[in-house]
């Protein structure tokens, strides 16, 4: 697989492959080598497997190898910094260095007629920012026909279907040196004049694929006197393509700005082997070489007369970097020495030129095809990859260092431990959700969700402000497939638009949430939320609240009481409303809660200090208190805890039973059976003591809540 999730980014993106595959059949293979063809420049005397392995270990990843007739095709992956390896010559140069073999590169010299090319064509660059250098060569009197077998076979090996001898030569030379070329039928270039310029908004163009494209000023065209004849760097035009009756050929070899080519290729969804190369920037010096090479080959295969010289506009762009390399630097980076002699051997083999005799510090001039190499560290990498990373030792000792777990990390783990102990499964759901999920209000903000483009998956383009709908959906999935349960929790962020957006603060706030969804009524989710909060050491109160997702009257906000600040909402809990449940294929009761872990973060790194368990026996007392139906439990509990002398001995308080009976209790009343466990740190609670405490509790409940002790 070319690029799976999680590799550091931007080697080659899988999406490039996919897009190309969709657009140009067979084009998912961006650089295929024919071993026969490669053998024209270098001999390596090893099986293909060994060739592939050496290339792999020096930076050209291997995708696949297969036989094509008597030839072998090797699909390699070329990183975006190495456009020189998007042609056979570049790969051959690597092979020559790796196997220490001589490299033979032809020096093509077409036989030129006396008539200058400039008598047939004029060239002008109108917008130099889109095209720094353009050359045109003219070949008159060609006989367009089939390519000879050697050429057609090599193209087939690398997956290019032969067209005719002129077009095939341009493809061949592109795949030889990485410089894309284009051949026009000179007779179809109107006005004898080529101008390279930005497209005009609204201008249209019919490409070789016979589709019409509407252009924009972000793209560049090759135009004749009347209009565009090619989309610069991307594709030629249908009008001027080489056809069986073509007699005179205009051969373009040029440099185009990568961004302009990319804008056109992506904007029109029209990617080609040519645009792929121009986006990465071929060797500027190859403009001339490729032109000569193609002219010589056309002359050889299709006959004709090559006019003298080229018509040129602009100039060879891009100076060659000079870089100082300290021999000792290599070991400083790699951790293993490479001799100065070996360093020089490698760099020389790759085409770098040493400027003068030197020892400890050498000045090198980079070859024109290696514009990615501009700094000392780049030279170190060249030496390292050719010398081989297997030379870097893997057993250098590394010293340990103390490290502390962050408060946030501990908080996340503690929250998860509580919920796992309670039988919940941890879920992971998408951060970007559909409009339907975000239709209900968030507990955390009144501002609408932010949107992203493209959608994460179909229809999901909103950054979520709560995790609850996602968990409900997952819960519904479990229901639908008949899973044992659908009790889930998730720890993730929400994305809230910050009000106003002041100063340097990020425009979004990303609170860390833990959310849970469980079968059962309100008390189920509340118990879980309480468990998490208690374990994190927070003191919270529950206040009735209204939230879109929850049944009215059966939801609460969870409020954290803070020592030196205003109370703050840190959570919501409730029974999920019927309308919401049915949307997710669920039946009630289902309850849910969401907590702000960022606000409940465990503070400080001091472990809790022990409170020794009392050695004295506990006293259990059950009180049956009759109160108004509307009385909140929290009020009664506050009254009990607030009774003088109680707090220090109240070990446990539990609501054992609630019942209502208009006949026996009276209308509008309810009975609460409250279990109290009393225990002192300092002595046994006598029956007198416990009676006094219970009497006090009853009195204070009566006073604060109108409670009456029953029977």
């Amino acid at each position: 697989m070319a690029c799976q999730p999680g590799t550091l980014p931007y080697r080659r993106r899988r999406s490039d492959r996919l897009r190309l595959l969709l657009l140009i059949p067979g084009s998912e293979r961006l650089m295929i080598i024919s071993t026969n063809w490669l053998g024209e420049y270098v001999r390596w005397d090893s099986p293909v497997d060994e060739l592939v392995r050496r290339l792999l270990m020096s930076g050209l990843n291997h995708e696949a190898t297969w036989e094509v007739g008597a030839d072998t095709a090797v699909d390699i992956e070329v990183t975006s910094n190495r456009p020189d390896c998007l042609g056979h010559v570049g790969v051959a140069r690597e092979v020559a260095v790796l196997f220490d073999r001589p490299l033979h590169i032809p020096d093509p010299r077409p036989v030129e007629a006396a008539e200058p090319a400039s008598s047939a064509i004029a060239v002008e660059i109108v917008d130099p920012d889109v095209c720094p250098h353009y050359t045109a060569r003219v070949i008159r009197g060609v006989r367009v026909g089939k390519s000879p077998a050697w050429l057609a076979d090599r193209l087939r090996t690398i997956g290019i279907e032969p067209v005719n001898n002129v077009v095939d030569v341009t493809n061949y030379v592109m795949m030889e040196c990485g410089q894309p070329l284009h051949a026009f039928d000179l007779a179809k270039v109107r006005g004898g004049r080529i101008s390279v310029r930005r497209a005009r908004d609204g201008e249209t163009f019919r490409a070789i694929n016979h589709k019409d494209y509407a252009l924009t000023a972000g793209m560049a065209v090759i135009a004749d006197a009347e209009g565009p004849v090619a989309l610069a760097g991307v594709m030629g035009g249908a009008e001027s393509e080489i056809a069986a009756d073509t007699v005179d050929v205009l051969l373009e070899s040029a440099q185009f700005a990568p961004l302009v080519v990319r804008a056109a290729a992506r904007g029109l969804v029209l990617m080609s082997a040519s645009s792929y190369r121009f986006e990465r920037g071929p060797d500027p010096a190859a403009v001339d070489w490729a032109s000569r090479r193609a002219a010589a080959l056309i002359q050889e295969l299709a006959g004709g007369e090559v006019l003298s010289g080229v018509v040129e506009a602009g100039s060879l762009a891009g100076g060659r970097a000079t870089i100082d390399l300290r021999a000792a630097r290599v070991e400083e980076v790699l951790g293993v020495p490479v001799s100065a002699g070996r360093q020089a051997e490698i760099l020389t083999g790759l085409g770098f030129v040493k400027e003068a005799a030197c020892s400890e510090r050498c000045r090198w001039k980079a070859p024109s095809w290696r514009r990615d190499v501009t700094r000392e560290i780049d030279l170190v990498e060249e030496i390292a990859r050719i010398e081989g990373y297997d030379k870097v030792p893997e057993d250098r000792p590394i010293h340990a260092k103390p490290v502390e777990q962050s408060a946030r990390e501990r908080t996340i783990r503690v929250a998860g431990e509580v919920l796992v102990a309670a039988g919940m499964c941890e879920a992971m759901t998408r951060s970007v959700v559909s409009e339907a999920f975000e239709a209900t209000a968030s507990p955390w903000t009144a501002r609408p969700p932010r949107r992203v483009s493209p959608a994460l998956v179909r229809g999901a383009d909103r950054l979520r402000r709560t995790l609850l709908p996602s968990l409900l959906e997952a819960c519904g999935h479990n229901r639908a497939v008949g899973a044992p349960h659908g009790d889930l929790f998730e720890v993730a962020r929400a994305y809230l638009d910050r009000d106003g957006g002041t100063g340097n603060a990020s425009p979004l706030e990303e609170p860390l949430l833990v959310s849970l969804v469980t079968g059962g009524a309100y008390a189920k989710a509340k118990g879980l939320a309480e468990g998490v909060v208690r374990r994190l050491g927070g003191a919270v109160v529950f206040r009735r609240g209204a939230f879109d997702l929850f049944t009215p009257g059966r939801a609460a906000e969870i409020v954290l009481e803070r020592a030196q600040a205003e109370p703050v909402r840190v959570g919501v809990v409730g029974e999920v409303a019927h309308g919401v449940l049915s949307r997710f294929g669920l039946e009630g009761p289902v309850s849910a809660a969401e907590l702000r872990l960022d606000l409940l973060e465990i503070s400080g790194s001091q472990p809790r200090k022990l409170v020794p368990p009392s050695e004295f026996p506990a006293v259990q007392r059950d009180l049956n208190l009759v109160v108004d139906q509307g009385l909140a439990w929290a009020e009664l509990e506050r009254a009990i805890r607030g009774t003088p002398g109680v707090e220090s001995v109240l070990e446990g308080i539990a609501l054992e039973q609630v019942w209502e009976d208009a006949e026996r209790l009276g209308a509008g009343k309810k009975s609460l059976v409250v279990g109290l466990r009393l225990r002192s740190q300092t002595g046994t609670i006598s029956s007198d003591d416990s009676k006094r405490l219970v009497d006090g509790i009853v009195a204070s409940c009566g006073k604060a809540c109108g409670a009456v002790l029953r029977g």
């Binding site: 799976q4 999680g6 560290i377 990498e381 893997e394 057993d395 499964c425 990303e510």
Partner: protein
Amino acid sequence: MGTVSLESFRADVERLRAEAVAAFAAAADEAGLEQARVEFAGARSGRLKAIQKLLGGLDGADRPEAGRLFNEAKGTITASLDAAQARLSGAAAEAAAIDVTLPGEPFRLGHVHPITQTIRRVQEIMARLGFESVDGPEVEDQWHNFEALAIGAEHPARDPLDNFYLAVAKGADPLLLRSQTSTVQIRVMEQRKPPLRIVSLGRVYRPDTADATHYPMFHQVEGLLVEPGATMADLKGVLRFLASSFLGGDVHVRFRPSFFPFTEPSVEFDMEWGGRWVEMGGAGMVDPAVLAAVGYDPAEVSGFAFGLGVERIAARRYGVADIRDFYRNDVRFLEQF
């Protein structure tokens, strides 16, 4: 003169012993045995106790022998009582026996997501080497996601089709969902001075059609070390430590050259897993330009960074063929980890 002769004492003891042993042996149930126990061995008024009282009536010279006789008889009676008790409780146990193969009382244990488990495993291993876990925002600006990482304006990685850009007001700075957790490394480096050892982890986002090996949202763990004199050998050593700790045994690590804008040299690293080389992630020496961008002096410190795709490792570790399963949240899946 004693009131009791040794001979009559011996006879009494022997009779008592014989009767007690017979009574205990004859007891048919625990109630009968208890009755016999009270009769013979009762602490207050048992017959054994009564005989013990006779010891006082013996001649001083006979007492040692009488004491021996008594103790011997007492031992026999106690042993016979124990045996009878054991016999009867065995029967009771048999009557009360249960089918020990019946199912235990069910209780439900929750499960931590396998992605979380994988992340924690890597965190724990890296913590042994002093790498601190850090996190940062998922919505990022262009500086942290691109520029500080030497991904220039012209780099194809910034293409709108290859990122999840947020809709922003006209003229506002572009924002996007981070495409790697290196953003966090930049943020930490901007705030702290070297030496530095951190692992940044969390969700990252890249447009990709979801299939068995791709998902547009996934998790990364990235390590960063910045110290004077750090080398690629240190990087390899750390990765081998990670690989060996994670996979168990002595695992080898292999570097292949690669290209990332923010490291130089850049490599892909493979680990030997199940007898073959498995591509694990990208790594390299932090590019001097990146160090300079956060205000570090590349002449003073060097560093290395590496990144792992969590889904890929977890998928391989747990035999998950389709990484979309990690996000289906099917309890039948989650309960297996």
